[in-house]
């Protein structure tokens, strides 16, 4: 099992207000799954993804990654885990504007102890080709379209071959056609490289492509359907 989440709770306290963003979440994700998390705004999708990605700390519960509890690790070990095993895709792409497309994609490789310039360059050009952006290496993020930026961010998440890619509403800022091509790209990578994807979405078209759909409501799992199977 790639990921096992047990009784996850997250409570935000803002002044007098306590928001129970995640309530008793328990779920398992197998390697190679392509899972969508859906639910109304404020249902806890981002919070759940952030907790799994170790960007946010749950108040209680466990997250096991490859059987190992990762919540209790210290920040340095967590950073190390992220750089080795997790890839992130954000709704707003979050590319570093001063770096070129190639430099943005190369970034996660630079953090690895195995970094070597020439192999890194080859891998970057390989993933940029995979996301259909070969030839865009030297552009700056602001010189390409939103859809292209999201492809760069997918390439960045993909470049180190992580075990798990977490994507928070990767298509929300894109028109439906571009959004569809992004999901198709993620599906292709999932099929070809076996990378596990866990992503949140509001878009029914995107939900339809998912191999599994988890529906959140008020911080709880309302529905978990593994049956849906579509191309």
């Amino acid at each position: 099992m790639l990921l096992e989440i047990q009784n996850l709770e997250k409570i935000y306290v803002a002044g007098e207000v306590r928001v129970n963003a995640l309530k008793n979440i328990t779920l398992k994700i197998k390697e190679g799954e392509f899972t969508a998390i859906a639910g109304p705004s404020g249902s806890g999708k981002t919070t759940l993804l952030n907790c799994i990605g170790l960007l946010d700390h749950p108040d209680s519960g466990q997250i096991l990654f490859l059987g190992e509890d990762i919540v209790s690790k210290n920040p340095k070990e967590q950073a190390f885990l992220r750089r080795q095993n997790f890839g992130f895709i954000f709704q707003t792409y979050n590319l570093i504007p001063v770096l070129t497309v190639a430099e943005n994609v190369e970034m996660p490789l630079r953090l690895l102890p195995s970094y070597e310039k020439e192999t890194a360059r080859q891998r970057v050009s390989e993933v940029l080709t995979a996301v259909g952006l070969s030839g865009f290496e030297d552009r700056k993020p602001l010189e390409i379209s939103g859809g292209q930026q999201q492809r760069v961010s997918i390439a960045r998440a993909l470049v180190k071959k992580p075990k798990l890619i977490l994507a928070d509403e990767p298509t929300a800022n894109l028109d439906s056609k571009t959004g569809e091509s992004i999901i198709d790209l993620m599906l292709k990578i999932n099929k070809e490289e076996g990378t596990t994807f866990l992503f949140s979405t509001h878009d029914t078209m995107v939900m339809d492509r998912a191999g599994r759909l988890i529906l959140l409501r008020d911080g709880e799992i309302h529905e978990d359907s593994k049956k849906r199977k579509r191309k």
């Binding site: 952030n50 960007l55 190390f80 992220r82 080795q84 997790f86 001063v98 770096l99």
Partner: protein, 408 residues
């Protein structure tokens, strides 16, 4: 990895050009100002030293061992055995020139007015072998029956070359004596005090009228090497007796003190430059951290550790400090290249201000070249900038990534 963090920091600097330019210009201005000031102070010191050595002290000076520095013109300070002392001094191989001088104070009288003057009895040939004074005699030449009068003094007393005047003084025996002299030449030296207060007469005449024939109040020595003058002085002490012998650096304690005061002044200026630079850097990096919250969240998601995130911002500050102060050093060097060759007309600037910063001599000052003036501010600016960036950088480090990523 470290070089990667450095390159990321460097790329960030070009991000907000206006802010970076502002911090840069503060550093550039501050550091170049510091460099010029230090070079100028040192230029003053060097020129003043040269003047003193060239007109006043020589490399080494011998005086009577009864010499009382609180009463420098007291007749008790006369060396009766001056020719014997000079003979022994001349025997040292390092000695190039020996000049006896008699110094005493007198009242100068032109028939209408009188004014206090400092009279120096010199042996013109011997004097030229030690001092450079003779070069500044104008409108006539030295004459054993007359006097060379400071140009400003002559003007004040309405005396022109050829005019007679009197000086009145006490002899060694304590009696008042008036001596008639005439203006044989004027002194226009780079030493404004000398031009205002001094007259020069023949040493034989001076010692005779003072009642101490053949005596001198001081014997100035020129050696073959200014730097080893103290060693030469040490040898001369062994050769002579009844006299006290000091090299220029042993004599110039008081002067070294004014130098140190000026050194402190430039240190204080450097301190303020650093404070201002640090405030600029804190501000720059703080805004930079605030603006880049989302990027900070992204970097952490990608797997940058907290300390790596912090170092990006610390280095950003350090690079701004380094490049800014380096540009400042270059600008300072550029100005200094001009001021060290052409020089600064200090006299013209200070005229009317009535301030000579305790230097007294010279009017054109040439700045010096001292690597310390460049290395110190650049190093300190870089370190201070890194230090200043540290606090805001810690905020970046402590930033909660989930929170940071939620910012739009």
């Amino acid at each position: 990895m470290k070089s990667y963090v450095l390159s990321l920091a460097a790329k960030n600097i070009l991000r907000n050009k206006r802010r970076t330019v502002l911090t840069f210009s503060m550093l550039v201005f501050g550091v170049s100002f510091y460099i010029l000031l230090s070079a100028l102070f040192e230029g003053f010191d060097r020129a003043a030293f040269e003047s003193i050595i060239n007109f006043e002290s020589g490399h080494i000076k011998a005086r009577s061992d009864k010499y009382d520095k609180d009463f420098p013109f007291d007749p008790e300070n006369f060396m009766e055995n001056s020719s014997a002392v000079m003979e022994s001094i001349r025997k040292d191989p390092s000695v190039l020139g020996v000049a006896p001088r008699i110094l005493f104070s007198a009242e100068m009288d032109n028939g209408l007015d009188d004014t206090p003057v400092l009279v120096t009895g010199i042996d013109p040939q011997a004097d030229d072998s030690v001092f450079g004074l003779g070069e500044y005699f104008t409108d006539g030449s030295f004459d054993p029956t007359g006097a060379v009068v400071g140009a400003d003094l002559a003007k004040e007393m309405s005396l022109y070359p050829g005019d007679p005047f009197y000086i009145t003084f006490r002899t060694k025996a304590g009696a008042y004596y008036s001596l008639e002299l005439w203006v044989a030449a004027l002194l226009k030296s780079p030493d404004p005090a000398g031009n205002k207060t001094r007259i020069f007469i023949d040493i034989a005449l001076a010692s005779n009228v003072l009642g101490t024939p053949g005596a001198a109040t001081e014997i100035a020595v020129k050696t073959d090497n200014l730097k080893t003058a103290a060693k030469t002085a040490e040898r001369l002490r062994k050769r002579t007796s009844g006299v006290s012998i000091q090299s220029w650096d042993e004599m110039s304690h008081g002067f070294t003190q004014t130098m140190q005061t000026k050194g402190k002044m430039s240190q204080i200026i450097l301190f303020f430059i650093l404070i201002i630079a640090m405030i600029g850097i804190v501000n720059t990096v703080l805004i930079s951290v605030f603006e880049k919250r989302k990027e900070i969240g992204t970097l952490k998601a990608i797997g940058f550790s907290d300390s790596e995130v912090r170092n990006i911002f610390v280095l950003e500050g350090a690079i701004v400090g380094f490049i800014g102060s380096l540009l400042g050093a270059l600008l300072g060097a550029l100005f200094n290249a001009y001021l060290s060759t052409v020089g600064l007309d200090y006299g013209a600037i200070m005229e009317g201000l009535g301030d000579d910063m305790g230097i007294g001599f010279l009017s054109i000052v040439r700045t010096t070249w001292n690597p310390e003036h460049y290395i110190v501010p650049v190093t300190l600016s870089t370190l201070a900038s890194a230090l200043a960036a540290y606090l805001p950088a810690r905020r970046a480090m402590k930033m909660d990534p989930a929170e940071a990523l939620r910012t739009t």
